[in-house]
């Protein structure tokens, strides 16, 4: 299978197919649909690499990112999207929000 991420981040490749998601709606749906054990595994693998991943992406112009770098940035977005599940809520949903939803209609690209 072709690698999705830059070679320096091969260690995160097992998470790439699931978490390189370009939109907030896809990332939030994935968060809600993923067991906490899998979220924790992604968090544990990606958090120590986040600084390096951010620096790697930041070396390229925002309006002209190579595809593998764009994937890495989307993976970082997903890490941000699930970080509160691990760091604050201990679950996928925000507690006590059974009847509430907030959809992202417009977001910057990339």
């Amino acid at each position: 299978m072709t690698a999705l991420l830059p070679a320096a981040f091969a260690g995160l490749e097992p998470f790439a197919a699931a978490w390189c998601l370009p939109t907030e709606a896809e990332r939030y749906a994935k968060r809600l649909a993923t067991p906490m054990s899998d979220i924790q595994a992604f968090y544990d693998a990606a958090t120590p690499r986040a600084e390096a991943a951010l620096a790697h992406c930041d070396a390229y112009p925002l309006d002209d990112l190579p595809e593998d770098v764009l994937h890495l940035m989307h993976l970082l977005y997903s890490l941000v999207a699930i970080s509160f599940c691990v760091e604050a809520w201990s679950q996928q949903r925000v507690p006590d929000t059974g009847a509430a939803a907030l959809d992202c209609l417009i977001e910057p690209v990339p």
Binding site: L62, A100, C104, L105
Partner: protein, 421 residues
């Protein structure tokens, strides 16, 4: 904990004696009869913000706005003459909704040279004039000049597009906004074109949701997760400054900025990205701030939270801002719109700072959204069963007291004028 000075009367509430200090009623947030009064007395009289000029970038750009509480849909358009106008979104022939796609109740936007009705093909120019009628000769005494789109008063302040559904507004937009709001003139709203727009249907009255965003008394209790567990103290939170101007309100926060606190006050993702609950640690310099920003001269200043009557909130975090709108859809529900507005990122690092701010906003806004359904449910029970009428509201909640006071005053004023005419 910092103690901020209160006005000489001893409290913010007593500084505005018309508000009183007694328990207040929230029946205005559960009563179907009161909701009907609000339609006429507030939403068909007050200036309502429907968007920004950046949503209408070119001649011919338009967007539609559904305003259920005022029983209408509007189309707002950037005319070929450069002027922004608003019309009821309805064909004058047999009343078909004019601009929509696929689902007539969903909002839409785009660019056009003229408005064409899907039904019989009548066409209107962007100033609302009827300029084409299919088989015009089949009609009887059709006065095309008198059959343009129904106009709605539309004015722009600092790039915010407002409409007023009254036949003749009682005040101009500038008069309505008053000096506390218009003193924000000069804030670079126009530069903050990178937007996240969130929307959600919420099972609570529009005012109850606004209440949750105009006091910080609830923050340590509902949102303890705003800081990591080891540093949660359970201490209360005191705002630095409150100010009222006509129907509008302001609260400012102060105190040490989040990122100047020791690292254990932040989550790992915040330390990595240098962004979080209050947005990017370093937002772009905005130059000399307008006089309306931080009018209480709080130092160190945190956030200005402007509540523009009836249903708008603007939260200014120095170099970026958040904006909320609450659109009533029934006595016990409303549609919430939340927008984060940044100066466009120029680097990946800046984009990720914005992304973190948007994600954290959603985490905590959902906490409020979830809880407010509980408030609505219990208040409906309180008034249905006549269990409790008045609820105590403290000095940190002075804006909640003022909001319900103003809503009642607008309803009374409208009833008085209606009875007199």
């Amino acid at each position: 904990m910092a103690r901020w000075p209160k006005p000489p009367e001893g409290s913010w509430t007593e500084h505005y004696p018309e508000l009183g200090t007694a328990p207040i009623s929230f029946e205005d947030s559960v009563s179907p009869e009161f909701y009907e009064l609000e339609r006429e007395a507030i939403f068909k009289r007050a200036w309502l913000n429907v968007g920004r000029v950046e949503q209408l970038p070119r001649k011919g750009s338009y967007f539609t706005k559904e305003i259920e509480v005022a029983d209408t849909s509007l189309v707002i358009v950037h005319g070929l003459d450069g002027q922004i106008r608003a019309f009821h979104n309805m064909c004058r022939h047999r009343g078909n909704k004019l601009m929509w796609n696929d689902f007539p109740r969903e909002e839409t936007s785009g660019t056009c040279r003229q408005f064409t009705c899907k039904y019989h093909g009548w066409r209107y120019d962007l100033q609302g004039r009827l300029n084409f009628v299919q088989q015009e000769g089949e009609f009887f005494d059709l006065d095309k000049d008198a059959t343009g789109l129904a106009p709605v008063h539309c004015e722009v302040w600092s790039g915010f597009v407002f409409v007023n559904l009254a036949p003749e507004p009682e005040q101009t937009l500038t008069e309505f906004l008053g000096p506390m709001i218009t003193d924000l003139d000069g804030y670079p709203f126009d530069k903050m074109t990178e937007r996240y727009v969130f929307q959600g249907d919420n099972h609570s009255n529009w005012k109850l949701f606004a209440d949750a965003f105009q006091e910080y008394y609830h923050v340590p209790s509902l949102h303890p997760q705003q800081v990591p567990a080891p540093v949660r103290t359970g201490a209360g939170f005191e705002c630095a400054h409150f100010q009222l101007d006509g129907p509008h309100r302001l609260v400012s926060t102060g105190g040490a900025r989040r990122w100047t606190l020791p690292p254990e006050y932040m989550y790992p993702i915040e330390r990595t990205t240098r962004s979080g609950l209050v947005g990017p640690w370093e937002s772009p310099d905005i130059g000399e701030p307008p006089p309306g920003l931080n009018p209480g001269k709080i130092d160190p200043w945190g956030i200005d939270n402007f509540q523009i009557f009836p249903n708008v909130e603007i939260l200014i975090y120095r170099g970026w801002y958040l904006m909320y709108r609450y659109w009533p859809t029934s006595p016990g529900s409303h549609r919430f719109e939340g927008m984060l507005c940044f100066q466009p990122a120029t680097t990946v690092r800046e984009r990720i700072e914005h992304e973190v701010a948007a994600v954290v906003f959603k985490e905590f806004a959902l906490q409020d959204a979830g809880m407010l359904t509980g408030t609505q449910t219990a208040l409906e029970s309180a008034y249905a069963n006549k269990i409790i009428e008045g609820f105590p509201v403290n000095d940190q909640e002075v804006l909640v007291r003022h909001f319900h006071h103003v809503v009642a005053a607008w309803v009374r004023d409208h009833q008085r004028k209606a009875a007199a005419s």
